[in-house]
Symmetry: C2
Subunit: 196 residues, 2 copies
C-alpha cells in the first residue's frame, strides 16, 4: 500500500509503539486503502464484518435497526478513530450493526484473514491493538455509567464538550439517536439551554 495515504495511521500507531522501517513495510503489505462516498455502506447488518477500519478522513455512523425499524446509533467514527462491528469481526458471525458513511470517507482496512499473521510478524502491533481495545472498553464502560447516572440534558452537555467537532458535522436527530433520546426531546433540551 501507498505509504503516503497511510501516513496518518503510521503516526497514530507510533504514538503507542515505535515501529522500525521493516515493521512499517510489513504493516503496509497487510492493509488496504479504500474510499467510500457519502451514503455508502461499509457494513450491513447480517453480513460478516471482515475488516477493522481506521478512518483517515470523513465520518461514519455505526447503528442498528430495532424490531420496529427504528435506528439506534452506537457510535460515530471520525479521523483517527475506528469503525467495525467487533462482535462480528472477532467471531466472523453475522453483524448486528450497519456502518454507513455520513461524508465521503477514506479508510485503511485490516482484514480478518491477514491480521493474525500480521500480529505474528509484528508483535508490537498486537500490543498496539490490545491497547486500543482496552481504551475502547474503558470508553464503553464510561458510557454505561453516564447512562446510569446522568439525565438526558447532562448527557447532551457531556457529548457537546467531549466531541465539539462532531456536533458541527452531524445532524441533530442523529445526535439524539446516539444519546438514546428522541429528536423532539433533544430539541426541547436545546431550547431550555438557550434560555439559561
Amino acid at each position: 500500500m501507498d505509504i503516503q495515504k497511510a501516513q496518518p495511521l503510521l503516526d497514530y500507531i507510533n504514538k503507542h509503539v515505535s515501529l522500525t522501517k521493516e515493521e512499517e513495510s510489513t504493516l503496509l503489505s497487510h492493509i488496504t486503502f479504500r474510499k467510500y462516498l457519502k451514503g455508502q455502506y461499509i457494513l450491513q447488518q447480517g453480513d460478516i464484518c471482515r475488516y477493522e477500519c481506521y478512518v483517515i478522513s470523513g465520518c461514519t455512523k455505526t447503528f442498528y435497526l430495532d424490531d420496529d425499524g427504528q435506528e439506534h446509533i452506537i457510535m460515530f467514527s471520525i479521523e483517527d478513530w475506528w469503525a467495525a462491528d467487533m462482535g462480528s469481526f472477532i467471531d466472523q458471525t453475522p453483524a448486528d450493526f450497519n456502518i454507513q458513511c455520513l461524508e465521503n470517507t477514506e479508510l485503511v482496512m485490516f482484514s480478518y484473514d491477514t491480521i493474525e499473521d500480521l500480529y505474528i510478524k509484528v508483535p508490537k502491533l498486537e500490543r498496539f491493538f490490545r491497547r486500543i481495545i482496552e481504551k475502547a472498553f474503558i470508553a464503553s464502560q464510561k458510557r454505561i455509567v453516564r447512562n446510569f447516572s446522568l439525565t438526558a440534558k447532562e448527557q447532551y452537555l457531556h457529548f457537546r464538550q467531549q466531541y465539539p467537532e462532531i456536533e458541527q458535522r452531524i445532524p441533530q436527530y442523529m445526535i439524539a439517536s446516539y444519546l438514546g433520546i428522541t429528536k423532539e426531546f433533544l430539541s426541547k433540551i436545546k431550547s431550555q439551554l438557550a434560555l439559561e
Copy 2:
C-alpha cells in the same frame, strides 16, 4: 505461586492459547493468590487499581457511588471471570469504582508492575489478554444496545436467562441496581411475571 491454587486459571488460559510448562512457570512467578472475606474491599473508589483479578471462587460486585451517595453496580464477577477497574489499572489513575466481595472470595492477581514484563516473556499471554478484553468490550457494547432497546422487564428476563447462577447468589436489590432500576420496580416486574 502454588500451581494447585492456580489450576482453574491455567485451564481457563489454555482454552484460549496453549502454554508450555516453561511458560506456565513464568506465569506462576508473576502472579499472586489471595483470599478475601465476604464484605471486604479489593478496591476503593479513589485508590489506584494495581491488580487485574481473576476469580477462582466466590463473587464480587464492582460499583460506584454517585453524587447522591447512591450505589450503581457495574458488574458482578464470579468464578472464571475478572474484576478490575480497567480505566484506573491502565493509566494508574484514581479508580471510579469499588470492588467488594459478596462472598468469601479467592483471587489470582496480576500486578500492574509485572504484567508488561510478563507479556514480553510470554507473548502468548499478550494474545490471551487481547482476546479477553475484546470479549469484554463486545459484552459492554451489547449491554449498551440492550439499554437502548429493551424495557426494564425485558432486560431483567435477559439477565435471568444469561446468568441464572448469579440470580440465586445475589440479593434482588443488587440485581435492580445492576439493571439500572429501583428495587421497588423490579419487585413490581417480578409480581407481574408471576401472574403470567
